[in-house]
């Protein structure tokens, strides 16, 4: 169903790569909240995420984000400052501290310098800010990645398998953080079970088709996303 106020609207949108469909033409709409996107590795999950984040163009169909048609450069230019994306293995090099990493992202997002300190504090990274990225434990590195992704307070955030490398005790704490990143958050995982229980909606990508799972526990859903 596509609501008038949908954050993401895809109409007959399909993605092809190397002559085969990664996502067959499909129509869907996402309003707000935390949306899960599950699929095994190489199912096209990451390709769909980067397409939704405007870094790749859909092969067919239309895509609207935050009210802008992003199949053209004008729409992309308008929307990109309002998006955040954290890939599965976000590339960063040794020798750069967490603060420098977030400041680097803040520069490209044209965000004032004080936003860096604010988000480091919000993500409880103040003490670890001077540590180099590759010295940080997995959960703190993820927090630094999230801080860089959201330093400009985006309206729509895409996270590719963010919880893949964290342990269970840290997972629950991070889930609370993920839900508050932006009004709309799209998050992926290899298994739908990892998303069930805390995502408002869960889609599964299988055989190049996007299917919405109807069994979604509402435990976390009582807490509105973006808070």
């Amino acid at each position: 169903m596509i609501a008038d106020f949908s954050t993401i609207v895809a109409r007959d949108m399909g993605i092809r790569r190397g002559g085969r469909w990664i996502l067959r033409p499909t129509t869907f709409g996402i309003t707000s909240g935390v949306v899960g996107l599950a699929g095994p590795p190489c199912s096209g999950r990451s390709a769909l995420l980067t397409t939704l984040a405007t870094l790749r163009r859909p092969s067919v169909g239309e895509l609207e984000l935050l009210g802008h048609d992003v199949t053209g450069p004008a729409g992309q230019r308008a929307v990109r400052p309002r998006l955040g994306l954290l890939p599965h293995r976000f590339g960063w090099a040794a020798g750069v501290t967490a603060r420098e990493y977030v400041a680097y992202a803040a520069y490209f997002k044209a965000t004032p310098k004080d936003a860096v300190e604010a988000i480091l504090e919000r993500f409880e990274l103040t003490d670890a800010a001077e540590l180099e990225m590759d010295m940080l434990p997995a959960d703190l590195r993820l927090r630094a990645g999230l801080a860089a992704t959201c330093v400009h307070r985006p309206d729509l955030v895409f996270l590719d398998e963010p919880l893949g490398s964290v342990t269970d005790p840290e997972r629950d704490e991070l889930i609370g953080l993920l839900r508050g990143l932006a009004p709309a958050v799209v998050v992926t995982a290899p298994d739908p079970a990892e998303l069930t229980g805390w995502c408002d909606r869960v889609f599964t990508i299988a055989r190049a088709r996007l299917i919405e799972s109807l069994e979604v526990s509402r435990t976390w859903s009582r807490v509105p996303a973006g808070v």
């Binding site: 984040a53 405007t54 870094l55 450069p73 230019r77 990109r80 400052p81 998006l83 955040g84 994306l85 954290l86 890939p87 976000f90 590339g91 960063w92 090099a93 020798g95 750069v96 420098e100 400041a103 680097y104 992202a105 520069y107 490209f108 997002k109 044209a110 965000t111 310098k113 860089a148 992704t149 400009h152």
Partner: protein, 415 residues
């Protein structure tokens, strides 16, 4: 420090491209050193050596740039989803890569300049040649970077190096060797690079770089105002290509010079780029001049001439053609003078085969070489026993036969 400066510094630390500077400088330095004429200090040849270094440095820079582009592609999530221009990230990368390539080039240029200055310098430093080399090197980096952005796969790094290396070695047309980096191996003394041709090559490189960078920025931003630099670069490339094509008949120009001479006991005059060779040439050629004195082949003046200039020796003047001062150059000069004494037409006559052997025996003495084995051992033995003064006297009497390769065994028995 400004925010942009801070970001550039983070990029420099993150991608660590400056670690490549020593390796690039070593590659370019070795290529330039090999390209310099041995023992010759000639500014025009120094520019040719810089171009030779660019032919090696360029593909290496292209490979480095492709690799950096490959790595930076993964940062699209930060730099692509930006409130700033999408061109900012690539421009920062290109700035860093340009600084890295130019740093290595500066080291190579310093090596070439110091070597030229340490020897006796000659000619004029061609600053526009240095500039043409730098702009060409930047083109290589841009090509590698754009290749890495267009196809962000590991094989692109090798492909960028291979294709750009091929451009340095093989050219599609005969005149295209003049396009940067020009395929000149050496600039020998007496000839010089034409400043206007170097300027044309610099402008051609500038046009290629401008076209590639503004074209890529247009792809990223679709800004209409980029049409102006795009068209300007295309016009510049077209005009300079046509102009360079028209220069193919005379890429080098004769260069005015004044001989450097040593006056005693012989007058030996060489191109000033080879003036360090004067003492050894004087020492090597004086015994030959002494042995030939009193004969029609006697000489008191030796002149260094361009490769394509062969005046008739005579009136006590002989000519030598030295390209460089690689080991053995003194002996090569002696041999050239000795060969110039002989009548090529009569010596090539098969009827004078025996006379050629006797001439070789005398030539060996003139050049202080080991005498050749010959059937007439009696003549060889007799000539070998003679004192130096007797041989000189004998040569004065038999010079005409020596020159025409018509000596006989009898000539060595009768004196």
């Amino acid at each position: 420090m400004s925010d942009l400066g801070r970001v550039l510094r983070i990029d420099a630390r993150r991608t660590a491209p400056f670690l490549a500077v020593p390796a690039l400088a070593l590659l370019g330095g070795v290529a330039a050193w090999h390209a310099l004429l041995p023992g010759v200090a000639y500014w025009d040849d120094a520019v040719a050596a810089l171009f030779a270094s660019v032919r090696v440095l360029g593909p290496a820079s292209a490979a480095l740039a492709a690799w950096v582009a490959l790595r930076e592609h993964r940062l699209g999530y930060l730099r692509g989803l930006s409130a700033r221009s999408p061109a900012l990230g690539p421009l920062l990368d290109l700035t860093l890569l340009g600084v890295v390539s130019l740093s290595a080039y500066a080291v190579v240029a310093a090596i070439v300049v110091v070597k030229t200055l340490l020897h006796v310098e000659s000619g004029h430093p061609q600053v526009v040649g240095l500039l043409a080399g730098a702009l060409t090197l930047l083109d290589y980096a841009v090509i590698g970077y754009l290749a890495g952005r267009a196809v962000p796969r590991l094989p692109t790094v090798a492909a960028a190096a291979a294709v750009t290396c091929l451009w340095g070695i093989v050219r599609p047309g005969t005149w295209t060797y003049l396009l940067p980096p020009p395929g000149v191996e050496h600039i020998h003394p007496f000839a010089g690079l034409r400043t206007e041709l170097l300027a044309g090559q610099a402008l051609w490189s500038l046009g290629i770089g401008g076209l590639l960078v503004s074209g890529y920025l247009w792809v990223l931003t679709r800004r209409a105002r980029l049409a102006l630099p795009l068209v300007a670069a295309a016009v510049l490339i077209t005009v300079t290509t046509l102009w360079i094509h028209a220069q193919q008949r005379a890429p080098l120009a004769p260069r005015a010079f004044e001989y450097s001479c040593r006056q005693w006991p012989l007058t030996v005059c060489v191109h000033p780029a080879l003036r360090s060779a004067l003492p050894s040439l004087e020492a090597a050629l004086t015994p030959l001049a002494t042995r030939l004195s009193g004969t029609p082949g006697g000489f008191t003046r030796v002149e260094h001439r361009p490769d394509n200039d062969f005046p008739r020796p005579g009136h006590g003047v002989v000519y030598i053609h030295l390209k460089d001062l690689s080991p053995g150059y003194e002996h090569r000069a002696e041999q050239e003078i000795q060969i110039s004494l002989l009548d090529a037409r009569t010596c090539a006559n098969p009827a004078h085969a025996a006379g050629v052997r006797y001439t070789a025996l005398v030539s060996a003495w003139l050049l202080d070489e080991t005498p050749p084995r010959m059937p007439d051992t009696a003549a060889a033995r007799a000539f070998g026993r003679w004192a130096e003064s007797r041989r000189r006297h004998w040569l004065r009497l038999h010079y005409a036969r020596y020159r025409s390769c018509t000596l006989r065994g009898l000539d060595f028995r009768l004196l």
